[in-house]
């Protein structure tokens, strides 16, 4: 006989999806010892380390990036038996929307070597995600990176739950634990729970506009035949995440020491823009993905009533779940 699921499902809080991002796993241990800061609103929370093997090894992953392993085709392929695909299947079997202890919403807590500040990553345009992002942006002013339409980067964890966003905080080196990054992560998670509680209570007033930085594509460093970078990132671009970048602005230094402007580095498939907004600049883990930085366009979207309705409906189902 299948075990009885709670009526509303829970909120899945994941840390350590990447094993060298140490802040969220550290916070998970604090919250397990003392959950009081997260339980005010009566939601049932599942606190889960995404990739325990990678965390123990102090590495981003063992076989492949767990946060690119939630691809339906990959998950359904019996040939795929890497540690991370097995882990993705196990997480879904337990906490997926149809799992034995189902979650309806996933909050995946990450850190980055890039100067992203305290920020959100949203995948695609699900109304519920956009409402949650708008609520968080209103409370904390978080910038929102809207990732979509990039065939080279897919299989993100939160996409497998009905609603979910990534909380991304940086800069911090891989393997380092910093109090300030922990505090920012905790603040963002507490704000997300407060937004959901307000939605459940019918008290959530969203702002008229959601400002998103919509993903256009990524730019890599020119590389030698052996894959090593032939140039360096221009110092002006270091730490310049979320700041406007024009075609004439330097992005690389070539081996003679000369600056290379963005216009000369843009892949042909990227849409022409007067101004781009770069994100994930010089993220350590993206070298192997061929990403020196990603380019976005900054857009202001009217917040739509159906977004709020979806979030209200979801948050009420969540609040009928079992408390932590």
């Amino acid at each position: 006989m299948p075990s009885e699921a709670p009526p509303g499902g829970s909120i899945l809080v994941v840390g350590g999806t990447h094993g060298n991002e140490r802040h969220a796993p550290w916070l998970l241990e604090q919250w397990r010892a003392d959950p009081s800061s997260l339980t005010d609103h009566g939601f049932a929370l599942e606190l889960v380390v995404g990739n325990p093997a990678a965390l123990a090894a102090g590495r981003r992953y063992i076989d492949r990036d767990l946060n690119r392993s939630f691809d339906p085709v990959l998950l359904a392929d019996p040939q795929q038996q890497s540690l991370e695909v097995l882990r993705a299947r196990a997480l879904l079997q337990r906490h997926g929307p149809d799992g034995v202890a189902p979650a309806l919403l996933a909050l995946d807590l990450h850190s980055t070597t890039a100067s992203m500040g305290n920020s959100l990553v949203v995948y695609g345009r699900r109304p519920c995600d956009l409402a949650l992002a708008a609520g968080l942006q209103q409370r904390l002013g978080l910038p929102v990176y809207l990732h979509e339409a990039d065939a080279a980067q897919s299989g993100f964890l939160v996409e497998c739950w009905p609603c979910g966003v990534v909380i991304e905080v940086g800069p911090v080196p891989q393997g380092v634990l910093r109090a300030a990054i922990c505090q920012q992560t905790q603040r963002a998670l507490e704000a997300a729970l407060a937004v959901l509680a307000a939605a459940a209570a019918g008290d959530l007033r969203l702002p008229p506009q959601l400002v998103v930085h919509r993903h256009l594509g990524s730019v890599d460093l020119p590389r030698r035949d052996d894959g090593s970078p032939a140039v360096l990132l221009h110092p002006n671009l270091e730490g310049a995440d979320w700041r406007p970048l024009r075609s004439s602005d330097p992005v690389f230094i070539d081996r003679t020491g000369s600056p290379v402007p963005l216009g000369a580095a843009l892949p042909p498939h990227l849409p022409a823009q007067e101004t781009y907004w770069p994100v994930f600049i010089n993220e350590a883990a993206y070298g192997e993905k061929g990403i020196a930085f990603s380019l976005t366009t900054k857009e202001s979207w009217p917040v739509q009533q159906p977004w709020l309705q979806d979030l209200v409906s979801l948050s009420r189902r969540l609040q009928r779940g079992e408390p932590l």
Copy 2:
């Protein structure tokens, strides 16, 4: 018949002793393609990647830390067959003082997540190392971390050559390549070659004093039974390498959010001082070594004539070596 060694030996320049410190390996490739910036002084240079397997894997090491593997007892033990011990033996067989292509001086280029700036690490009190450090401190103002008398940390690469120092530059995350860190590393190496050239020419005038930060011991975070940190580093201490620290200054935040002063965190074997000078604060790779930061005492040592004599003698032997 053994191959004939050059009469004076060469300078061994090592990068990538740790495979996730990417700046020096990147510079080695630049220098191999165009050695002109290093060849002005006529020294024979050997440009060597310390740990190619770890560099390819993007990890500090594969089996054990290469820069703790140059321990004579370890190297002589036939039971020791880890990748890094084998690599240490191979480097010594080729470029050790008695190797087939012997080097007399080793410059080992590192980067760190700690805010060490452009700095030198000297192991023990060999006159030649101290003279080189004094010459570099005079030219570039580099702070000098004098590491000695720590049984828990030994087997450093440069100790196996008659003279040698570590050039340590930070902060930079592991796995990230930054132009500014490359430039600082290159500047320190060029200055070291200029000091040696001046010594060989009889033109080196050392300063009257060498300022050293002498290692006293290391402090770890209090940990739980499973080894995970029970507290966080205090934000005041982040990035405060080389700055004075007193017993009443906070170094940790406990789980209630209260600051823990240095005085309450000092291991009993550390000598009492009015002021300590911390280094390698929150270096990512030192968590597994049980080091949250190391404490030094700042001392000003009169530069001694025999130091200079040793460096002059060595640099003249080097200059009789074969050019690159």
